[in-house]
Amino acid sequence: MATPAIRMFRKIEGLFCVYKPAGVHWKLVRGSIETSLLKALNATPSQPLPTEVRFLALPVSEAEAPKGLTLSAASMPVLSKHPLVTGPEFQNIKVGVGHRLDASSSGVLVLAVGNGNKVLNNLYNTRVTRDYTLEGEFGTATDDFSHTGRIVERSTYGHITKDKLERVLAMLQGANQKALLLYSNVDMRSQEAYEMAVRGLLGPDGKSLPILTGLRCIHFEPPNFTLEVQCINETQKYLRKVVHEIGLELRSTAVCRGVRRTRDGPFTLQDALTRDHWAASDVIQAIGKKRSSKKKSKTQTKDSPLQPSEETTTVNQVKPVREQQ
């Protein structure tokens, strides 16, 4: 009963991530993936048409009287089941999107097909952190904090050194850590808090203000600088605002030239598919790879339970989800 199209659909169901280029709305990305998957599904060889036995009247010449059995049985294909009449087997598929990226940012975008959507929901209900790379430029301030906005202010930046920048970043990180502890809904002086902190589980549950759990500068060449950020519950606009605020703290101004997501939960840049690889075969491969790597890391974390680093906490929290899967 399972047609080749349905069998292929079973292979496509799952989670994978895609590299969204800048300047493209995420809906268009989701739409192109859906179109390419549908194209592959409907290109599978269709089932042969069922046949039906019909009694056809043989052509009778006029001279003969219309009596006697002049019917013949013939097995004819039922045309009402032909794909040109019923339409393609798959007309739309559910492709869900993970944490959204706005139009001017680029980076890892997690997508889920079919049954994978449920897993996606569970994944985002747990505490998932994301990695971003922010490119900033000193000297201007705009209204929407990005380099394409209307310029509001210009200032000098000659006085900024890497040292000062690092100090500002440390202060910001401290403030964010405080917020992290505050939102974790645990009394700081209890044993429970200590145990959670050891395992790295301190943090807000569900929706809260955006919190940066990690912040450092990886490249500094005035006027340009690059920051690496790990955060929870953020939006790209908030990250641009952070760049703007860093500029203000340094008594200058800054705009954000680019926001690029390098990691979304367990999905990294390495797994992301670029534009030429958005065909169904690549998607199936990516899903398979992700599944096998998840299984491997599951067995690994079982051996080493007490690693308080960020990566494994997310993996640990994703574990109960995977068992449901």
Binding site: V78, S80, L269, R275
Partner: protein, 422 residues
């Protein structure tokens, strides 16, 4: 109500052999309503206000009609109320009877309240033994619904529809257009469809394209043959060769539905607005026959954009349009976006862009990524006078792996890695 029904049936071509429940009679009348030939006449004639005196009349006429048929039929004249049978001749002509069940069914007959008088008809028990020939001539009422939103209920019973599916016409797409489904059902294959397919074959269209042509333009089957001939003759008189006409028709099937005057006006428009010679206009139209069918406002706007916003001179525009006619129907926003990037960011001057207009037809993302990759490698050099020149045409047309190995002299994996850093 019974008499009104009988009158309809008498004047129709089908014979109702059974006196069935009033409900089924009403069903039958509704179906018969839709017989186009003389349907209006039928309705006019059966304006029955007081039916009592007509009952006996109609019943007599009914009986007379019945006696015309073979003796076998008489045994099935009247049956119990439970049986409801319809005559369905298996010839294709009768499919026409179900022509437009998709049309709104008019309940025009005002049915007066009348008792169904079944005494006059002979009564036959269902358990009576009958001969084999009689058994064969019992027909089963068809399960075709009187109205449906999909053509798949009618495809098996209609010869026209089955033959269209075998030709490759996408009925599913066509039935979504309003009124096209009922139009296709009304057609008769031998009188309507076949002559036009032969006409298409005569002008040289390949048989495998018939499905595509009818899917794109189903109204070619309702256009009169003399119109079709006159339009093809007009195109040939404009010095298009017959193979080109065939390819134009198969790529833009709506040409066959445009009047000769309209086609002439459009050809004149293109010649005048682009100021091209006749042979160049013919060349453009042969490459993009859709230009003859699409609306002309966007074309005018695109030309204005090229002239004013992008700043191309007239002869440059002419060259661009002759090489890539699709620019005339391109999206204005995308066109300006690509031009802006190529001219301002890649610093390519107007005359070079005019020389390689394929760049205006490409996807913007592709140009941007490839240019940025070449810039990163230090190979972004588009000036033909300097060494290591990369032509715009090659930049845009060749597929990714060849681009990586030949133009960028790097591996495809490196290009993917680079794309992820943008």
């Amino acid at each position: 109500m019974a008499s009104s029904c009988t009158q309809l049936c008498l004047q129709g071509r089908n014979l109702l052999r059974s006196k069935a429940v009033a409900r089924t009679w009403q069903y039958n009348t509704q179906v018969r309503h839709c017989i186009t030939r003389g349907s209006s006449k039928i309705l006019n004639d059966c304006s029955i206000n007081n039916g009592n005196h007509t009952t006996t009349q109609t019943r007599q006429r009914w009986k007379q009609q019945l006696f015309c048929y073979s003796d076998l039929a008489t045994k099935h004249l009247a049956t119990e109320a439970l049986e409801n049978k319809n005559v369905e001749e298996t010839s294709t002509a009768d499919v026409v009877a179900y022509k437009s069940p998709l049309l709104p069914i008019r309940d025009a007959v005002s049915v007066p309240n009348m008792p169904l008088d079944l005494d006059a008809a002979a009564e036959v028990s269902a358990l009576e033994l009958i001969s084999e020939e009689e058994a064969v001539s019992i027909t089963v009422p068809s399960d075709i619904p009187p109205a449906s939103i999909s053509l798949k209920d009618y495809v098996d019973k209609s010869e026209t529809l089955s033959k269209l599916v075998q030709l490759g016409v996408d009925l599913w797409k066509l039935e979504q257009r309003p009124n096209v489904g009922s139009m296709l059902l009304k057609l008769d294959f031998n009188t309507d469809v076949a002559p036009r397919l032969l006409f298409l074959k005569d002008i040289g269209v390949d048989e495998s394209r018939f499905g595509h042509i009818i899917t794109e333009n189903p109204f070619v089957l309702t256009e009169s043959l003399e119109n079709l001939h006159s339009r093809v003759n007009f195109l040939e008189s404009q010095k298009f060769s017959s193979e080109i006409v065939a390819s134009m028709v198969s790529r833009a099937p709506y040409i066959l539905n445009f009047t000769v005057k309209r086609l002439d006006n459009r050809m004149g428009f293109y010649q005048q607005i682009l100021k091209l010679s006749a042979s160049n206009t013919r060349h453009i139209l042969a490459r993009l026959p859709r230009l003859l069918c699409c609306s002309l406002e966007p074309v005018k706007e695109n030309l204005k954009v090229c002239e004013m916003e992008l700043g191309f001179k007239e002869n440059e525009i002419q060259h661009i349009v002759i090489t890539v006619p699709k620019v005339l129907t391109a999206n204005k926003r995308k066109l300006t976006q690509i031009f802006d990037f190529v001219h301002n960011t890649m610093k390519v001057p107007h005359d070079l862009i005019a020389k390689f207009p394929q760049v205006l037809n490409c996807r913007f993302m592709r140009i941007r990524e490839r240019h940025q990759f070449l810039e990163y490698l230090g190979k972004a050099q588009y000036n033909p006078d300097l060494p290591n020149y990369i032509s715009l045409e090659r930049l845009v047309i060749i597929p990714n792996d060849i681009f990586c190995t030949e133009l960028a002299l790097a591996k495809s994996a490196d290009f993917s890695l680079f794309q992820k850093t943008l």
